[in-house]
Symmetry: C2
Subunit: 359 residues, 2 copies
Amino acid sequence: MIRVGINGYGTIGKRVADAVAAQPDMEVVGVAKTQPNFEAHTAVERGFRMYAAIPERLALFTEAGIEVVGVVDELIAAADVMVDCTPSGIGAENRDRYATYGTPAVFQGGEDASVGDVSFNARGNYADAVGAEFVRVVSCNTTGLSRIIAPLEDAYGIERVRATLVRRGGDPGQNARGPINDILPDPIAIPSHHGPDVQTIFPDVAIDTMGMKVPATLMHVHALNVTLAESPTAAHVREVLGREGRVYLIPPGLGLDGAGTLKEFAYDADRPRGDLWENCVWAESVAVEGRDLYLFQAIHQEADVIPENVDAIRAIFDAADAATSMQRTDEALGVGIRGDPAGFLGAGGVTAGVPQQER
Amino acid sequence: MIRVGINGYGTIGKRVADAVAAQPDMEVVGVAKTQPNFEAHTAVERGFRMYAAIPERLALFTEAGIEVVGVVDELIAAADVMVDCTPSGIGAENRDRYATYGTPAVFQGGEDASVGDVSFNARGNYADAVGAEFVRVVSCNTTGLSRIIAPLEDAYGIERVRATLVRRGGDPGQNARGPINDILPDPIAIPSHHGPDVQTIFPDVAIDTMGMKVPATLMHVHALNVTLAESPTAAHVREVLGREGRVYLIPPGLGLDGAGTLKEFAYDADRPRGDLWENCVWAESVAVEGRDLYLFQAIHQEADVIPENVDAIRAIFDAADAATSMQRTDEALGVGIRGDPAGFLGAGGVTAGVPQQER
């Protein structure tokens, strides 16, 4: 059993804790938190041992009726590995503390790439993180791009990726963020940081990204163009993407027309917190013009990096190869959506072998 | 004087009426409207003669205290040219009526291209509309794309255009439209209709467009990629676009970071209805990677087609060549924004000649 400590129990940390707890080869040693807010109560109710991330605030937890086991240094000492889910920039400040205890750590994509020995996406570069001390799981958007780039690069080769990332302004709980009633280029200067971030996973892939922010909270939506080295049919691209366990190829006819309906779909499926761990690619949007592939995908910013955090832990300990780890993670969590009631994806469905003659 | 009748006095019609009235070589014969709403009162207050678009409803206007001169057929008979500003699809139904009276007409981009003998953008294909009976001014988004494509094609040649159009869900007054808190691929299938619509102006330009709708009402924002036949510098592209009277190259440092601030800027400038007739291109966003040009532009969906409607009228009567008509329109309306307080656009500013050595 890999004993996992989690520093930060907010949007990402609480999801990582549940995902780790669900794995057959991992256990949660405890979680650390700075303040006794509603999420701290959630942690206790779910049976996670609570550590005070700021020792001076320990009493605040006790006063709030939350039993605290100790302070974060004790958690770091007790854990085989820490997953740092603190706000952007704090992770880098915590790095030395993890090093002091000789505890390897997984960081989130809000940190600079320099926080890790390697940036990580399970489908993209799992092997690079084997044996690493500090691993950075790339951001939700970069994860979403990497999951599409990897199979396309494998199947066809990529000449250039161009992506417009229409990003939610904030998460549903981030009620102090904007914009309202506006469409903001963000950043105005091109490219956005996402392209270089993808290159931490795929150094040889040429990619230009443009970012925007809009008044929505549920998911990001990417408008993606990939100039391929070949000219496959759209049907063939759907077959290739349909074999990816962390890609949901949305069939037409189900009324899944945007982030709102996708989230409703996730709630109806009893997904915890309505999480969509998969890239949600509209099958109908997949189009090829010459060597130019186009598609739309929705990315649940709170959820898609969760399975990647679990895999990063196994990579650090060389506890499984990439395929085995991803399969174990996905089975334990329930990642993977299939189903094509209207038969849009072809007689073989998305799990059929790729008919080479279609290329 | 060209005597212009306007059928429909809503979002577009009321702006066209003011723009025509401002021209030295045109006058508004009258406007036709289906119902005596607030805009009908506006028309009367501005001195436009009112015609009932639906004869049976004439009495409704009188009851509302609005003097009606006659019915729409009388307006069509009296006018040298009609500008049809009715809702999408109604224009096509009106076409036969205009033909009956031998009155040429300008239609809006909500109609199918087949409504006109030619689709029209002043910068793109003014000459094609000279002497035409029925001219269709392309939509706000297509107009915005055409104004960028024309100078780039002239200066460098274009290999392919790829555009993601992040569209406002509805105009500020269209309070029954959505989305709220969502990002919708619209249409999900790629390409959207905008690409083929651009090809009604530039038949030889390869273009793929992806459309989205978001919870905003003020402007559209385009993320544009153009693969050029040459590799100019970004500074050179800014020079080329800066010479376009209907392109506002937004300098950095002014705080113009999105649609909201652009509209505030327009109100501060005492623009009628806060109209931004120009493409608003963020100068800082203009980037070139190899032969790939990228930029962001905001398009005021209610306003950018207005000068084009005026030019379409002159084209029909061969009353001026393209450059003369555009200059006359722009001077009469006040189109054109210059100014670069921080000197971002270079020592020569945007009106300087293009330094060929930069290419």
